[in-house]
């Protein structure tokens, strides 16, 4: 298990259409995945994540585009010649074979010698800590154990890439977190490329080197968790990952700054996306960036201020969430860590402050951001 290494994968304008009359299910997806990277395809149900993964695995044919593994096109190869590991949400263990036989299966397909198979199966079952279950049938083990076996079976033949389609989706929260830890450890120890599909943003944030946000068959944005959180490229990406305060208006240029003018308010940003000036847009501000003060405050330089009324407060243990409605009618919330709360209470008049740099401008509607010139956050292979 030591000399494994990952493969680089390149999706180039990958498109899948099931029917002429319907829009493509996967639409012109471009993505570069580095060797050894842990990338997550994140998006709501039906956004085309599984279809994309199945095209990489070879279970689905591409309508257009190409998929390259280490620079070689695999688009016309059947799945059994691609040599990728795959883990499904439904485990897909063979019910008539013991755990050891399940794990041995891919090695037998590769015509390995019996003694070597035995040794490798033992090694990999040790890796997932299930050596004691080797002679059980899949029907006799728990869901968490079944998924570990599926993981073992998918990596036992030392593939360069491991594909996982919502592997933890059928497990309860506690097991899910435990297995997340194990998957992260396997990624470190094996050093191969992981492509992970989920609709759970927390899972994506916890595991991934990078995340590709899917929506409607397209990639909305690709980046590290921090990039996606701090600088979402679209309203969808902003709202799908974490919570957001959203201010709608027209994007204008004023006092040398890109700002957003709404009905009865103006928000300044230092966002450099001049290309959006003159269009309808949105400023996104994360709740923990907003500072609340009861009453009026003197507005500092480079700070946006807005008056609002507190509507209600939710305690979440380590922080509290203060929901408000601005005088201009926008609802939102601020997050205050325990020990640093303001004295704001429901019904109080407060001033919201956030630094100019904390607001991010995005287009009002989702338009494909792939290929926007000069946008370093968006991976584009075009």
């Amino acid at each position: 298990m030591t000399d494994m290494r990952g493969a680089a994968i390149r999706l180039s304008s990958v498109t899948k259409r099931y029917s002429e009359h319907q829009p493509p299910v996967v639409n012109d997806v471009c993505l570069e995945i580095a060797a050894g990277e842990f990338i997550t395809l994140l998006g709501p149900s039906g956004s085309g994540k599984s279809t994309t993964l199945n095209m990489i695995a070879g279970f689905e044919q591409l309508t257009a585009g190409d998929i390259l593994i280490d620079g070689v096109s695999v688009a016309s190869l059947p799945p059994y010649k691609r040599g990728l590991g795959m883990v499904f949400q439904h485990y897909a263990l063979f019910p008539h074979m013991t755990i050891a036989q399940n794990v041995a299966f891919p090695l037998q397909q590769r015509k390995m010698r019996k003694r070597d198979i035995q040794r490798r199966v033992d090694d990999v079952l040790d890796l997932v800590g299930l050596a004691h279950l080797r002679d059980r049938l899949p029907g006799q083990i728990s869901g968490g154990q079944a998924q570990r076996v599926a993981l073992a079976r998918a990596v036992v033949f030392e593939p360069h890439v491991l594909l996982m389609d919502e592997p933890l989706g059928a497990l309860d929260k506690k097991l899910r977190e435990q297995l997340q830890g194990e998957i992260a450890r396997m990624h470190r120890e094996l050093g191969i490329t992981f492509i992970f599909v989920t609709h759970d943003q927390e899972e994506a944030l916890a595991l991934s080197d990078r995340i590709a946000v899917f929506e409607g068959g397209r990639i909305e944005q690709v980046g590290t968790a921090q990039e996606l959180y701090a600088r979402p490229a679209s309203l969808f990406a902003a709202e799908f990952l974490g919570e957001s305060n959203v201010f709608h208006g027209m994007i204008t240029e004023r006092r040398g700054r890109v700002s957003l003018v709404g009905e009865g308010f103006e928000v300044l940003t230092d966002d450099g996306r001049a290309g959006l000036v003159g269009t309808a847009g949105v400023v996104v501000v994360r709740p923990e960036r907003i500072r609340l003060t009861v009453g009026d405050v003197a507005v500092e330089h480079d700070v946006n201020a807005m008056t609002a009324t507190v509507t209600h407060i939710v305690y979440q243990g380590s922080y509290r969430k203060v929901a408000f409605r601005t005088d201009a009618g926008t609802t939102g919330s601020a997050r205050e860590p325990a020990g640093a709360e303001s004295s704001a209470m429901p019904g109080d008049r407060v001033t919201l402050c956030w630094r100019v740099g904390d607001g991010v401008i995005v287009p009002a509607q989702s338009v494909p951001v792939v290929g926007l010139p000069g946008d370093a956050l968006v991976e584009s292979t075009s």
């Binding site: 070879g58 799945p79 059994y80 990728l84 795959m86 897909a92 063979f94 019910p95 397909q109 079976r153």
Partner: protein, 303 residues
């Protein structure tokens, strides 16, 4: 399963039948009443005659193993028994070869096509066995349509009517549904995504089928084969009408012994042997499958 009261049900309007059933399940031993009619019927029309025949095989004309000795030495009974076993085996294999792809296709097609396919399987049940067997006599004649067809491609004429081949063809057609339905019952429960998993792990499609699908389909294969084999062992009408007396099967021999020779002892011995063979088969198979699965009643193996 004691159910103390019925507060959940009592609110609904049509509560009477529900009450009745709960009343039954609240007093489990009353449930025994439900099987009394079936037990009475089976006892009088099945168990008693079988027991009587077995008894006669040892007691008629005189107490002892005389009838079994004759069965082994009369030069006919053993021959007929072996022929019966051979033909039942052939029929079972042929029905399996025909039914497996058909049942497999049934799991792939859409709902509408599937109901057509089920109807085609059940079609034979809507016509009487006699009518179908007469039809086979016509079809299989020396100058019947099948031999005409064979002649057109330069084969034949084959002697089909009145031969083992003809009987095999007729029995296969009659018994095909008993193979197809249990087989389909099992195949439809097989998760086809397992095939994808196998292919993803490096198996070619045929290997994936052989290593994953085929083993998972075995309960259905065994159930269907059991059903067909047991039915074929005791088949009477088709061999009697399509075959010839010189190539008779065991049930024909039994009929002759009992109704024409009035030799109840010899007939009983044949019946007993057939009965024991069937039980032996069921016992063998239930080592691999639960008894209900062996009879095609459940669609899954025990595991």
């Amino acid at each position: 399963m004691p159910i103390s009261s019925t507060p959940i049900m009592s609110a609904s309007a049509p509560e009477r039948p529900v009450r009745r059933l709960l009343w039954l399940s609240a007093r489990p031993w009353y449930g025994v009443l439900l099987v009394v009619p079936a037990v009475c019927l089976l006892a009088t029309v099945f168990a008693y005659p079988v027991a009587a025949l077995i008894w006669l095989s040892f007691a008629d004309p005189s107490l002892g193993l005389e009838n079994y000795h004759r069965l082994l030495t009369d030069g006919v009974s053993l021959l007929v028994l072996l022929r019966t076993l051979r033909m039942a085996t052939i029929v079972t294999l042929v029905t399996l070869l025909l039914a497996y792809p058909y049942a497999y296709l049934m799991t792939l097609v859409g709902r509408r096509a599937r109901s057509v396919m089920v109807a085609l399987v059940l079609l034979p049940f809507w016509t009487s066995l006699m009518a179908r067997t007469f039809a086979w006599i016509v079809l299989l004649q020396d100058n019947g349509p099948i031999n005409d067809l064979l002649a057109m491609v330069g084969l034949g004429p084959l002697e089909l009517a009145g031969t083992e081949a003809g009987v095999t063809i007729g029995m296969t057609q009659v018994l095909l549904p008993f193979m197809t339905l249990p087989l389909y019952g099992t195949l439809r429960t097989i998760d086809r995504r397992l095939l994808d998993a196998a292919i993803g792990l490096g198996a070619r499609p045929l290997t994936a089928f052989r290593r994953v699908y085929l083993p998972l389909s075995m309960p259905g294969v065994v159930a269907g084969a059991m059903m067909v084999y047991i039915l074929a062992l005791g088949f009477y009408v088709t061999p009697a009408m399509l075959g010839s007396p010189s190539e008779s099967m065991i049930s024909q021999l039994m009929t002759v012994r009992i109704t024409q020779l009035l030799d109840f002892g010899a007939g009983g011995a044949l019946a007993t042997v057939l009965f024991l063979l069937t039980l032996l088969l069921l016992a063998l198979v239930s080592r691999f499958l639960s008894p209900s699965a062996a009879l095609g009643m459940s669609t899954r193996g025990e595991r």
